[in-house]
């Protein structure tokens, strides 16, 4: 019995040691090791699949409180399309930006801290003319707004 226990203990210590070595050797940064980048959501080919993977739901409630402060109606260069989303709601937990006609619609998702205002701005690539959708999670519910962007030169292919 005691021997068995000692073996388990030894094994455990060895495993921990190996992990510790990986960390110190820089093979695994703590951040990379703990990363929870949602590959399935980013690989999803449709908006619904991306939402299902990211939130476990595709139930969106349209909201006029979600505004694209920045997003052109016509994007001459699909490789660099400025987009900013501002939300006039309390308790916003996250903002996600999707481009419906991109090969993989999910562009990015932002989780806000308690003191962070419901606003985010970035620049995205659009493959072709598409609807850009902002999905906002607030109070456990999903809200959305969309806007059509006409793309004259796509930004996702060669």
């Amino acid at each position: 019995m005691t021997d068995m226990k000692r073996r388990t203990l030894l094994k455990g210590t060895l495993a921990l040691g190996a992990l510790g070595m990986a960390f110190s050797a820089g093979l695994l940064t703590p951040r990379a090791a703990l990363a929870a980048w949602p590959k399935d959501a980013f690989d999803a080919k449709t908006v619904d699949d991306a939402l299902k993977s990211l939130f476990g739901s595709t139930q969106l409630e349209g909201s006029d409180k979600i505004v694209f402060k920045q997003l052109p109606e016509i994007a001459e260069n699909g490789a660099v399309v400025p987009v900013s989303v501002e939300v006039a709601m309390d308790g916003v937990e996250s903002i996600s930006i999707l481009a419906e006609k991109n090969a993989t619609p999910l562009t990015s998702s932002y989780t806000l801290g308690a003191a962070t205002e419901p606003f985010v701005a970035t620049r995205i690539k659009l493959g072709k003319t598409t609807s850009v959708i902002a999905v906002v999670k607030a109070g456990g519910k999903l809200y959305s707004a969309g806007k059509e962007v006409k793309v004259t030169i796509g930004g996702c292919g060669g």
Binding site: T29, R31, A32, A35, W37, P38, F42, A79, V80, V81, P82, S84, A99, N102, A103, T104, L106, T107, S108, S109, Y110, T111, L112, G113, A115, T116, E117, F119, V120, A121, T122, R123, I124, K125, L126, G155, C156, G157, G158
Partner: protein, 104 residues
């Protein structure tokens, strides 16, 4: 990798506005190298973490559809001038970088 990132955090009233510009190819994995005709492998930032005095104020998950040399801006409350602000990112190859600035 030094000085490839520009981060500015400016305080106005109670609101700090962050603007960041990161140098990164953000390769989608769908574009062919014009010389060799081969696909350039995907190489893109996956996670961005923004901290105010060590507390996470924004964490971003990015895919290949974020433009090359990414831009990010957002706002948060509760900071004072002189507070520390850090932005760090990690990409799909495990490369990472972080920049620290002082809130002005």
């Amino acid at each position: 990798m030094a000085n490839k990132m520009r981060v500015v955090a400016k305080l106005a009233g109670d609101v700090t506005t962050v603007k960041a510009l990161v140098k990164h190819p953000m390769d989608t994995g769908q574009v062919k190298d014009k010389k060799t005709g081969e696909l350039i492998p995907a190489h893109f930032i996956q996670e961005v973490t923004c901290e105010h005095n060590g507390k996470v104020v924004l964490s971003a998950l990015w895919g290949v559809a974020i433009s090359k040399d990414p831009y990010l801006s957002f706002r948060f409350k509760g900071a004072k001038a002189g507070d520390k602000f850090t932005l760090s990112w990690v990409d799909n190859k495990g490369q990472h970088e972080s920049a620290e600035t002082v809130i002005e």
